[in-house]
């Protein structure tokens, strides 16, 4: 494609990306470096159905004046980034000084919201991503070997978990795994433990969320690999068969190498998606056991307290996290497409 043709072809996308991604990002970064001004508080007489008393409230006239002078808020630099509810440099330093062992240090990090969220987010990302690739591949191989009359139906059936809205899917499962729900009481029967509850223990909650994540995302990997399987050259397969390769050997030595660029693609998308895990935590009411960076952002702005600077900071940290995660995959892809001459 000529450079000029490419430019005009790409222009609408670039414009949309600039308007809806780049500009909001600048605003988020700026927000994360500012906080609201110091509140001007006054004590006034306040009355309600339960009587009158002196109550502290915000002096709006005084606050408005300050806000009009400096509408951006108070410049605080990286103060929000380093405070206790984010990277918590001071607290982490103290934990490191007073640690009795490395395990003790790691477990004390669990008290800090950011590291607590990272603990679950990273576990989730690094368990779900490989499992999604593995199961997606197995399903793709299995469906591909079916009789052609069955294929269409099975493709549709296998895609169902992805079609269900995440929040709805997790809510349905939430009720099914309840101690009084069909899966929950089934498991109690199976393990002969009437007190077994998937919602009450952190470990089981994590497993539930991970199983849900694999269930929900495997169809995505499946459909990508299934498309890839249609392009496997028959000559190579036949050559392998003549050489006496078993079906398993054909899969490992012919099909897997052929699909490896797709594995990189699926890994890229899944790392990004899983790092932003959010809906299942809300759907499963799991915030007592598992939080994620996205959940922290939602919790900061989803309530009446509206900690905008805090939410902006967590957003920037999420973006940095995604970039770090994707770096190895991106570097590898770049090398593949730019072989050294």
């Amino acid at each position: 494609m000529k450079h000029k043709t490419f430019f005009w072809f790409f222009l609408p996308t670039a414009l949309a990306m600039f308007l809806f991604i780049a500009l909001p990002l600048t605003s988020i970064v700026s927000q994360s470096l500012h906080t609201p001004h110091d509140q001007v508080l006054i004590v006034v007489e306040s009355c309600d159905p339960f009587g009158c008393k002196s109550e502290t409230t915000i002096d709006h006239q005084a606050s408005q004046k300050i806000n009009e002078e400096k509408p951006q808020g108070k410049w605080v630099g990286f103060q929000i980034y380093t405070d206790r509810n984010h990277l918590a440099f001071k607290e982490v330093g103290e934990f490191w000084e007073s640690k009795t062992s490395f395990i003790d240090f790691v477990s004390s990090l669990n008290d800090l919201p950011f590291y607590r969220a990272m603990g679950f987010t990273l576990t989730y990302t690094f368990v779900v991503t490989p499992l999604v690739i593995l199961f997606g591949f197995i399903i793709a191989i299995a469906v591909n070997s079916l009789h052609r009359h069955l294929k269409g139906f099975m493709v549709f059936f296998s895609l169902l978990p992805m079609i269900v809205t995440p929040l709805v899917g997790s809510l349905i499962l939430f009720w099914m795994i309840d101690a009084r729900g069909i899966i929950g009481s089934g498991l109690q029967e199976l393990f002969a433990d009437p007190t077994l509850s998937l919602k009450a223990s952190t470990g089981l909650t994590w497993i539930t969320l991970i199983v849900y994540g694999v269930w929900h995302s495997a169809p995505f990997a499946f459909i990508v690999f299934y498309a890839g399987l249609q392009t496997v050259p028959q000559e190579t397969i036949e050559a392998a068969m003549i050489d006496g390769a078993t079906r398993f050997q054909q899969t490992i030595h012919v099909i897997v190498p052929h699909l490896s660029p797709l594995v990189a693609f699926v890994a890229l998308i899944q790392l990004m998606d899983n790092f932003r895990v959010f809906e299942p935590i809300v759907g499963f009411s799991a915030s007592a056991h598992a939080t994620s960076l996205s959940w922290i952002i939602w919790n900061d702005i989803g309530q009446e307290i509206r900690l905008l600077s805090s939410a902006a900071t967590t957003s920037v940290l999420t973006i940095i996290g995604v970039i770090i995660l994707l770096m190895p995959v991106l570097i590898r892809t770049w090398r593949e497409f730019n072989p050294e001459k």
Binding site: E45, P49, T57, V168, L171, S287, H289, N299
Partner: protein, 409 residues
């Protein structure tokens, strides 16, 4: 839960509706956001009666109202012309200066109001309260009678009663509690801490002070109660706890007055309905202050709307809370602060709470930050992963960080 029934009713302008003439509004836009429990549904339906002619009325009643009311009132013109709020949630709207003083509208159209209904801050009427609410004891009279247990008046008695019920194998988990991580768990902590006589902040400042003996006692009591609750208690909000009650699984719980009527719904087993009884809130630790908080629910009018819309909104809401709206269906739904309201048996708990001198939920600008921090920081203690002191220190640190960011410290 998160996706609860969202009742969004849009009334399109229809000419010559017989009802709107009764509201006396000629033109304007009314858009109401609020919670979704039965009493608020009644208010929303009442305001809808004013639709017609040049008047449009919309209501958006949802459990997530606190997440959307502030964003929906910040714009100019505001999407919502009125938010139905409680004493905690009006603070967020006042903090952000999105609701208007109602003094002129009250003078013009508020003849039927009683003085106690006016929520006044520094002489400005910021809201009109129409109902009162409180959490109080709800118990199964049949279960307590069978075992000869007197109705608990303290949390210690509640524990003893639960132990007895569990020992007799009547119920596996006799206590119900809305202890879901987040707002609900924090609310129960606030209740308990007030019952022990604690103060949340150092007097006259926004500095938090909960890491003390009262705080430790409160947490230990909550932990002791949770031993008799369904092990999934950290996922149970008021809806889930009500469902446990309706299913006959629990015999004792601290529940909102506004939800008692719904516990006696048609779908519930007749034996459970007949035995559902209420009493006042309990005290704790030998204290005399109830371990509960008093709440009012009322309406506000947005600042960033035209005076015409504000007047229409005020008049539509006044129509919704007119004394004539009280009847056999609506009276048991709440403790109405409306003139001519006769208490029903369902209101006994809230009246007992008021009579005991239960304290109102604090209307401080930074109380919400404390509540939010508590909802996230106390869960590890409830799961036995932290000591009470560690959890309270975490709560204080999380609050202090957030309050510093917001400019209160």
């Amino acid at each position: 839960m998160f996706l609860r029934k969202i009742a969004t009713v849009v009334a399109l302008t229809t000419l010559a509706s017989s009802a709107w003439a009764g509201c006396g509004i000629s033109e304007g836009r009314v858009s109401i956001v609020g919670n979704e429990f039965p009493a608020i549904q009644t208010i929303g339906a009442g305001a809808m009666e004013c639709a017609g002619g040049g008047v449009t009325v919309e209501t958006n009643l949802t459990a997530d109202h606190q997440k959307i009311n502030l964003p929906g009132m910040t714009g100019n013109p505001a999407e919502f012309t009125s938010a139905i709020v409680a004493n905690s949630s009006i603070v967020a709207l006042m903090n952000n200066d999105v609701i208007r003083p109602l003094n002129d509208l009250v003078a013009k159209h508020g003849q039927g109001l009683q003085k106690s209904q006016l929520v006044t801050i520094d002489g400005n009427i910021m809201g009109i309260a129409f109902m009162a609410n409180a959490q109080h004891l709800t118990y199964r009279s049949d279960v307590l009678k069978d075992l000869g247990i007197p109705v608990p008046s303290t949390y210690e008695e509640m524990l003893a009663a639960a132990k007895k019920i569990a020992n007799y194998n009547l119920m596996q988990y006799p206590i119900g509690g809305a202890y879901a991580a987040g707002w609900n768990l924090a609310e129960e902590f606030v209740n308990m801490y007030m019952g022990y006589g604690g103060e949340f902040f150092k007097p006259g400042t926004a500095e938090i002070a909960v890491n003390n003996q009262h705080g430790v006692d409160s947490l230990n009591m909550m932990k002791a109660l949770s031993e008799y609750m369904n092990p999934d208690f950290l996922t149970h909000d008021s809806n889930a706890t009500s469902a446990e009650w309706k299913a006959g699984n629990v015999a004792l719980m601290n529940m909102w007055g506004s939800r008692i009527g719904a516990l006696k719904g048609d779908e519930v087993d007749a034996a459970v309905v007949a035995a559902t009884a209420t009493a006042g809130p309990m005290t704790v630790g030998g204290g005399t202050t109830a371990a509960s908080t008093l709440w009012w629910d009322g309406f506000t009018v947005a600042k960033n709307i035209s005076d015409t819309d504000a007047e229409a909104t005020f008049m539509a809401m006044m129509h919704a809370i007119r004394p004539a709206m009280l009847n056999e269906t609506t009276s048991p739904q709440a403790v109405w602060l409306i003139d001519g309201y006769e208490p029903t048996p369902a209101a006994a708990g809230v009246f007992a709470a008021a009579a005991m001198g239960t304290k109102p939920y604090p209307m401080l600008p930074y109380a919400g930050l404390m509540h939010s921090a508590a909802g996230a920081e106390l869960v590890d203690f409830m799961q036995g992963k932290e000591t009470a002191e560690q959890a309270l220190a975490g709560l204080e640190a999380a609050y202090t960080t957030a309050a510093t960011e917001k400019g209160y410290l």
